[in-house]
């Protein structure tokens, strides 16, 4: 269990994280979404012990992370920007990680490199951006850590590699009970990967939920009636959003799908059609319901 209690991190006048609190359970894939500058990378750096919180605490299994070797042994952090020793190849970087992670598995490293099709003795500076990300993921998976912290690591991977990486991460979660925390500025990148999603906004988590629960708790439909009507017609339903164009309305309703459908069918509509809803839309609607107002730049993220 990873716990952040009222964590604040400032960089001179900028408050990157503002009294952020969250609990990340074991054995899950936890996604952190937010616009650029929302504080995702800062939060991961606090979780990995790179930064020390100015206020509050970051605990991994009830242990403070910063300057705590025992707590840090359990986690591995892959930052958004790739780094390698000068002229190093994957073998050399493997030796670096093996020197500090007691549970580092060189056989697993070689097997993963083989599976990903990456040459272990080719200088990393000749790798493409995607290959470097794969190399970093392979190093992380070989450390034997229980907590993987990936900062925008999946962004830019091709679909085949994304699928392979996801499979490997799920293996870690199911076989070893590992926890994966991954950030992205794009919800689409994480939608099909995470069990839990949190939205970071201006240095705080404004929404945190189970992905399946989110997806099943909100439905989107189009409906039309012969007579004139407005939002008041749907009084018995928990309407999150209502938009009418001509006689056809688009409804976003919070609730159980079958139950809502029955209620609406009972109103004898001319048209009633379920429309697929993306996680991104759900987040936007939920955020609006919470009273957050996005400018155009934010909503595009």
């Amino acid at each position: 269990m990873i716990t952040a209690n009222n964590v604040t991190k400032r960089f001179q006048d900028i408050v990157a994280l503002d009294h952020l609190s969250c609990h990340i359970p074991d054995s899950c894939v936890y996604g952190l979404v937010g616009a650029n500058g929302a504080g995702k990378s800062t939060f991961l750096r606090l979780l990995s012990g790179v930064y020390k919180p100015d206020e509050g605490s970051v605990l991994m299994n009830q242990q403070h992370v910063f300057e705590n070797k025992e707590a840090k042994k359990r986690s591995v952090f892959i930052a958004d920007e790739f780094w390698a020793l000068p002229r190093a190849d994957m073998k050399r970087m493997s030796a670096l990680y093996a020197s500090v992670y007691e549970a580092y598995d060189p056989k697993k490293f070689l097997a993963l490199a083989d599976e990903f099709g990456l040459p272990v003795d080719r200088p990393l500076n000749t790798f493409s951006k995607g290959m470097r990300r794969q190399a970093a993921i392979i190093q992380a998976l070989s450390t034997g850590a229980d907590v993987y912290l990936f900062d925008e690591t999946f962004d830019g991977l091709d679909p085949v590699m994304r699928s392979l990486v996801k499979k490997k991460l799920y293996d870690e979660v199911f076989d070893r009970g590992a926890t994966v925390i991954v950030t992205s500025h794009s919800l689409r990148e994480l939608e099909d990967t995470c069990d839990q999603l949190a939205l970071l906004y201006k240095g705080g988590i404004v929404l945190e939920s189970d992905v399946n629960e989110l997806k099943t708790s909100i439905i989107k439909m189009q409906i039309a009636f012969a007579e004139q009507y407005d939002k008041d017609k749907f009084e018995g339903l928990d309407i999150v959003s209502f938009a009418k164009l001509g006689s056809v309305s688009t409804l976003i309703v919070r609730g159980e799908k079958m139950e809502c459908q029955k209620k609406l069918e009972a109103m004898d509509p001319l048209l009633l059609e379920m429309v697929p809803i993306t996680l991104e839309e759900i987040f936007v609607y939920e955020m609006e319901a919470l009273g957050y107002v996005f400018d155009k730049g934010d909503s595009e993220q």
Partner: protein, 355 residues
């Protein structure tokens, strides 16, 4: 132990080429001296035994800059600071790996020189070999310690290198100015008589530089007391470096001066160091020589600020702080002039002033 081995491997990029250069240079130069016309010089002092080492000790800076290079980029800092390693262990590993590389290079070149002596039949004083090995090792560690302290204060290579220069040389330069300024016009007291703290040859690293410009020190430089004396600032600086490294926020990475005010302070201290020679002679402060030194100091200050900030506008905004360096030099003069006047009074009076 694993981390130490890893650091040893990392520092091989610096250590191996330098070792090769030192050994080849020792072979050529030492061989030429022993087999050639400088035969007699070899036996006269420990200094000339290992010609390459007097330069090699300053590579302590390279070892520190490369060992702590992860501090100079955000991505490197992310990797190293997220590893399950305590900062004390990291600092110790870099130090031990540097000590191993530099110690091994010094030892090998000493052995190489010993072999040259034995083969050539050149006379030598056996005790000079372990003594000079110890001396050069302490000098190397002194330079490394100053650089490690500079790295702990900085977030970029340029500020780390500038800080190292200030830490290593500015206190000695001030001591030199103090001693020189007070007694320069007093013929009966040489500034070498002022005790070890003001004697430029006692500090191993700066002493070697002094030796390079003044051969008179050659015979008295490499001694056990000097090596032991230099161990004190080495240990103090290593301790201060560790203390700062443990407290250094990792967000300093890739920021000019690690501590926000350090960039300004570094520039001011650099300018101060350049202007310091004007205190040697009060009249020079308001002469062409003084103006030249102030202009040179300003140039160094602006160049440093430009390199550190990479932005002309930002560098120009720091210009007013240059006045701090000027004020510091004037303050130094204010102390030096009365002190020197007091000393001058002790001089024998001019014949014409006697009645």
């Amino acid at each position: 132990m694993k981390l130490y081995k890893e650091m040893l491997r990392k520092l091989a990029i610096v250590g191996l080429p330098l070792m090769a250069v030192v050994l080849v240079y020792t072979l050529i130069r030492g061989g030429a001296d022993c087999f050639g016309k400088y035969y007699i010089l070899q036996s006269s002092s420990a200094v000339s035994q290992i010609p390459a080492l007097r330069y090699y000790v300053f590579s302590g800076l390279l070892f520190a800059l490369y060992g702590f290079s992860f501090q100079f980029s955000r991505s490197g800092s992310d990797v190293y600071h997220s590893l399950p390693v305590k900062r004390t262990e990291m600092y110790t590993a870099v130090f031990l790996a540097t000590a191993t590389w530099m110690g091994a290079t010094i030892l090998l070149s000493e052995i190489e020189m010993l072999l040259i002596y034995l083969v050539s039949g050149c006379p030598f004083v056996p005790v000079y070999i372990p003594l000079s090995a110890l001396y050069y090792f302490v000098a190397s560690m002194l330079v490394y310690a100053a650089a490690a302290l500079g790295c702990a204060l900085s977030g970029t290579v340029i500020t780390a290198a500038a800080s190292t220069g200030i830490i290593l040389f500015l206190p000695r330069l001030m001591q030199f100015m103090f001693a020189r300024g007070i007694v320069e016009r007093v013929p009966i007291i040489g500034w070498l008589d002022l005790g070890p703290w003001l004697d430029p040859s006692t500090n191993a690293a700066t002493g070697i530089l002094t030796m390079m410009v003044r051969n008179v020190f050659n015979g008295r430089l490499i001694t056990l007391p000097h090596a032991l004396y230099s161990l004190v600032p080495t240990v103090v600086m290593l301790g201060a470096g560790l203390w700062l490294f443990r407290r250094r926020p990792s967000e300093f990475a890739h920021k000019n001066g690690g501590y926000p005010a350090w960039t300004i302070a570094t520039g001011v201290l650099l300018a101060f160091a350049v202007m310091l020679p004007v205190t040697m002679n009060y009249q020079r402060l308001f002469s062409v020589y003084g103006a030249f030194l102030i202009a040179a100091a300003l140039g160094v200050y602006v160049l440093y600020q430009l390199l550190a900030s990479s932005k002309l506008k930002k560098a120009m905004l720091t210009l007013p702080y240059f006045l701090l360096a000027v004020l510091a030099v004037l303050g130094f003069n204010a102390v030096m002039i009365p002190a020197r006047t007091t000393c001058s009074i002790q001089r024998p009076p001019q014949a014409r002033s006697l009645r």
